[in-house]
Amino acid sequence: MIRVPMAESTPAVEIRNLSKEFRTSFRRKPLRAVDDVSIRIMPGEVYGLIGPNGSGKSTTMKALLGLVAPTSGSCAIFGKDSLKTDSRNEVGFLPENPYFYKHLTGAETLRFYGKLCGLYGKALAARVDELLDLVDLTNARDRRVGGYSKGMLQRIGLAQALIQEPRLVILDEPTAGVDPVGSREIRDLILKLRDRGITVFLCSHLLEQVQEVCDHVGIIFRGRMIREGRLEELISIEDQTDIVLKDASSELLEKITALVAATPGASVVRTGKPRTTLERLFLREIKEEKP
């Protein structure tokens, strides 16, 4: 594949001042699900969108995929407008709580989506096998999807999103309803995708995982982006330093504390087990926004 130098500087995702209103028949005032949201994701980044239920995460993703039309603003994937079909050539999507045709088996499901992407023949068969193996469903490949458990559906959905080797993967709560082990596997898979240079745009309520896999994070609340940036910058506290010790005895801790106390200007803020800082950030931001 010949790479045009320009292509690298084209953002994988470019959401500009996106607003989306839903007209609800029983309410006069339209519901503003997304309010002036802008997101730019460069190729190779892993971007996590977090926010409480109903804050507009899924709606933003749907607008990016052209499933809903923006009320104002625009979305583009690799520079192609989301409202055009060809923008979806290089994107894979896993919707929240995915459901597939119950009458198809796992392998048939992947074949169907592969054919929709223009794959066929040996290349398709090989790809299907590879993906079934990747999401650990080889044993269930000839079982009807109607009989799959929630976690299996999530995994076949993930495989389906990756079928045409897209350069961008959009995952709406990829670990919802998946057990801790499966959840960890999905996290590892996302890390694998990142290592292969695939751009990932995900949203999740598992902040610990978001913190582990994402390099960029956006916090959305009631349709508005309230905080956005590089994860490290967002959660680092400039005037503090962590020392994480392993198997430290209480004597050692006492010594360190005494040493700090003897040093003018420095102080111990806290000792204890490390915590997920993204979670704290999230809760703080949400609290600030709430009237």
């Binding site: 045709y101 054919k115 389906q160």
Partner: protein, 308 residues
């Protein structure tokens, strides 16, 4: 990464439509309900085998038996094809929206038109295959029964000492009621009518909120379509006294949107043993195509801006 080349839009429209059609076809086949319907229709036609020929009647009875077989079979085909077209189409779209399978399909590089056309083609493929099976069965039954009837009539005519010309004309008359090309034309007409109904149901299901609504409205249009021509005539006569041009235009518009199912009365003529001309069949095909294409594009027009 290098194995797959990214073209402007991978695959052709035609291929994608076929992929979705094949998927829809399997989906319907694997829904057991339609098996039962199909089996019912097959039994309805096959039951004609066991209806023993009446011996007492004069020469016309033989042809009546053949007519009743055709009428019964084509009736079963019509019922089956129209119900299948409407119900299957009315079921599929809301199901995809409800199960959110539509998200995953439209998130692939699939134009919305291809999706609609694929669904419609899938339903029509199933209708076509079912009609083909029923047609084969009907033709076989009719072939056997025609042979029996002709044999009986010949025996009777010879016993009564009919002149050879009279025997020949009776044989020709009976054979006209047997399986022939006009009968195949009638089956094609049944398929065309089902196609119109399927595309109509597709159009309604793009804006309706439930399968029940789609089904009811489709059947309403079906019945209106049978009276449409009469209504139009009455209206035109009324209009001639007043604003003739307006009424005429309105009537034209009306018939452009609402199919006139009286055109399919040629099927009844075939049951009566009349021949169906190639021109009549050609005209019917054009009418069927017009409505199917018109309804599909109208569906697309609505579906293109739909949000899920």
């Amino acid at each position: 990464m290098t194995a797959i080349q990214h073209q402007p839009l991978q695959g052709s429209h035609f291929r994608r439509i076929l992929v979705i059609a094949a998927n829809t076809f399997t989906q319907l086949v694997r829904m057991k309900v339609f098996y039962f319907m199909g089996i019912f229709a097959v039994i309805a036609i096959a039951s004609n085998f066991f209806d023993l020929p009446q011996h007492e009647g004069p020469e016309s009875v033989g042809s009546n038996v053949l007519r009743s077989i055709k009428s019964w079979s084509l009736g079963a085909m019509t019922l089956f094809s129209v119900v299948l077209s409407v119900v299957a189409t009315a079921l599929l779209l809301p199901k995809d929206v409800e199960d959110r399978t539509l998200y995953t399909i439209l998130a692939k590089p699939v134009p919305r038109f291809d999706y609609l056309a694929g669904k419609l083609t899938g339903v029509l493929m199933l209708v076509f295959v079912s009609l083909l099976v029923m047609d084969l069965l009907m033709t076989a039954v009719l072939h056997i029964r025609t042979g029996m009837v002709v044999e009986q009539q010949m025996e009777m005519a010879r016993a009564m000492g009919w002149p050879p010309e009279a025997i020949d004309s009776l044989r020709a008359e009976t054979l006209a009621n047997g399986p022939n090309l006009s009968l195949q034309g009638a089956v094609l007409a049944v398929f065309l009518r089902a196609s119109i109904m399927a595309s109509l149901a597709l159009l309604i299901s793009t804006f309706s909120t439930s399968t029940l609504f789609t089904t009811i409205v489709s059947f309403l249009v079906y019945f209106i379509g049978h009276f449409q021509a009469d209504a139009r005539d009455v209206w035109l006569h009324a209009g001639q006294e007043g604003e003739g041009v307006f009424a005429r235009l309105a009537a034209l518009l009306f018939s452009l949107i609402l199919p006139d199912f009286q055109l399919f009365n040629v099927i009844d003529a075939v049951i009566e043993g009349q021949a169906m001309s190639l021109i009549a069949l050609g005209k019917l095909t054009l009418v069927g195509l017009y409505y199917a294409v018109f309804f599909t594009f109208a569906s697309w027009f609505i579906f293109a801006d739909k949000e899920f």
